[in-house]
Symmetry: C2
Subunit: 380 residues, 2 copies
């Protein structure tokens, strides 16, 4: 079994006075301190980052991370677009499970605001299929807008239901000191915000963000020496076609459906056993697609599920309880690790907007669903 | 135990009619065919690539690789500069060792010639420390030139000895149909070629290259159904400071020394047990530093060791028997996998320039030594 001791998140936002390296350092040292681990016991380092080379001119991020923390242990940079953080976490998990590591540090980090907005979006398009999407100028807002349009036409999902996703995420983020935005918004605010790609308004979209998050993973023998370690009960990763147009269904997240089925099967748990959920709301429609993919509601019913307040703190499945990508911000390489840390904090009983949680699930999506990474965490 | 069945290498060179995706496809399908594995048995895919985002506009390379091969299994892109291929291989190794994979495909690929030469070098500088190296315009030729100067001043290593490294690598590559260069060169050719960064001439430097290589790894139960699987006897990865100036010694590859010590310890083998060697000759001086770091000769004696023909096919340790980075070319993300495949081919008795080999060692270096990844492979 592999366990998470604790972690650390930097403030998410436009952090102009911190470089990528500074963010990595702050989160790495913070996770070491919060977990109580001795730095010299860390025997492996993993970093999730999507595009440090393009955003900051720095590749070779494994070595950057170890050198920043004064370590000389094995390290590797893992990338899977917006799922980079979760795939880095998984490599650490497998290395501990293989017996070749006892204490691993996983950092997720991205520094996106050192380039101008247009360039930042153009860099993100590297997560799509270069031949059929990025090079023709189709960004992710456009891809998710296509998915949203189809969902609306097929199931009657409304713009108000989409807006509701953002409203709830912003509500959950109001008291999150580490979030990029702390303002409550209304459905009217969303619907009156600039149209980015019909039907997605500005406030249906997560922002460009700087930030980092880190967690410490350990093997059984180390975990038992610490208070309140959280078990990694199951993990899965699946891929779908990189290009959206090649899929049988443009709105089904096949990779997420498979990843969800796998983590439920491997953990022996059902959706009703999950007390807290983190899903990938890069655009409001994606939170709806994730809820459907994981089976928390039926296909096509995600809009209504959100409208019925099922994902609020007192709903049937409290989701994105710290604000999600929309309110926390979305430093792409950091998000997967931030999601994991927030679920761990909930299970350890030290979260903001605390809910009663024994088991939690995280779903981190790369691109328009070409990569999906799911984890279930718990205490028993 | 983890095993390698077989693999495939594309031609290395300026492959103008193949995209990064084409190279990945050719190597992936080639490895599947050569190993005799059924494609549907592949349960994990790993890809090593340094800078696809900058060279080709394509990130999210794990999903690109699975989608290119018609797979939907877990996949992750691993990066560690010029050691990206070997770190990708290691993640596959640990996942199989953890019991979570039985058949993994590892691809290393880089497409470097779609940008102009200056830009290609500038992209490579992302492997150095952005704050103290890349942003001041210090490229890797300059960093390795510093290391060479110190080695020459301290140990009396000569330009002729450096040149000898390239001469031998080119000699080994003359009959390698997959190599970028098949021409024999002389010491005089090297010394009369353009000075790039004193003391390194043009012919001390490996070229910019497009190419891909892939191997199939399996668990014990699968390997026994195939002829001649090669065991992964040991693997190690260590890191040093990203910035060269921060190191205690500017010529000692501390990361490689530690990685070497570890693979020898874990395999129970000594240098005398190694029959074939692949080391990282991105610049001629680096082959000398690698030979010293691994203990094949004493510190400071690498130049003489090469001069004495110890690394030739009939020397005490046949090294880079297919041409090394200098003659094969150096598609950075592919090199680590190409090295592994070439050692495997030697041990399986199907290499060009065949030597008698039961055990082989590969050392893949990232940056100026910030990452070192070593593996020992063998049959018994």
């Amino acid at each position: 079994m592999v366990h998470i001791l604790s972690g650390y998140q930097t403030r998410f936002g436009e952090i102009w006075n911190s470089s990528l390296k500074n963010l990595i350092q702050e989160s790495g040292f913070g996770a070491i301190k919060n977990s109580g681990i001795d730095k010299k016991d860390i025997d492996n380092v993993f970093i999730g980052n999507m595009a440090g080379g393009k955003y900051t001119g720095q590749e070779h991020l494994g070595a950057l991370t170890t050198t920043s923390l004064g370590l000389s242990v094995p390290s590797v940079h893992c990338e899977a677009a917006c799922a980079s953080g979760a795939v880095a976490f998984q490599q650490a998990y497998y290395k501990i499970k293989s017996g070749e590591s006892r204490v691993a540090l996983v950092v997720g980090a991205e520094k996106m605001t050192d380039v101008i907005g247009d360039e930042a979006v153009s860099i993100l398009m590297g997560a799509g299929d270069s031949e059929t999407e990025s090079f023709i100028g189709l960004p992710f807002s456009g891809l998710y807008a296509l998915m949203a349009k189809i969902h609306m036409n097929k199931f009657g999902t409304t713009s108000e239901q989409l807006a509701n996703v953002s409203v709830i995420n912003h509500k959950h983020g109001t008291n999150n000191k580490l979030a990029q935005f702390n303002t409550e918004i209304t459905i009217r605010n969303v619907l009156e915000s600039t149209m980015i790609a019909d039907p997605l308004h500005l406030l249906d979209c997560s922002p460009l963000t700087d930030g980092a998050a880190a967690v410490i993973l350990t093997s059984d023998d180390i975990a038992k020496e610490y208070d309140n370690p959280i078990k990694v009960k199951a993990c899965a990763c699946f891929t779908d076609t990189l290009a959206l147009y090649k899929r049988e269904s443009l709105f089904k997240l096949k990779s997420a459906i498979k990843a969800g089925e796998n983590v439920f099967k491997d953990s022996g748990l059902k959706t009703r056993d999950i007390d807290v959920l983190e899903v990938h709301d890069c655009f409001s429609i994606n939170e709806i697609l994730c809820l459907e993919a994981l089976g928390f509601c039926k296909e096509g019913r995600g809009g209504r599920f959100v409208e019925d307040d099922e994902i609020s703190l007192d709903g049937s499945i409290p989701t994105n309880t710290t604000g999600g990508l929309k309110s926390c911000g979305h430093p792409v390489g950091a998000t997967g690790v931030r999601q994991i840390l927030d679920v761990v904090n909930q299970i350890q009983g030290k979260s903001i907007n605390q809910v009663k949680a024994k088991n939690g699930l995280c779903l981190n999506i790369g691109g328009s669903g070409a990569t999906a990474v799911a984890h279930i965490f718990g205490v028993e």
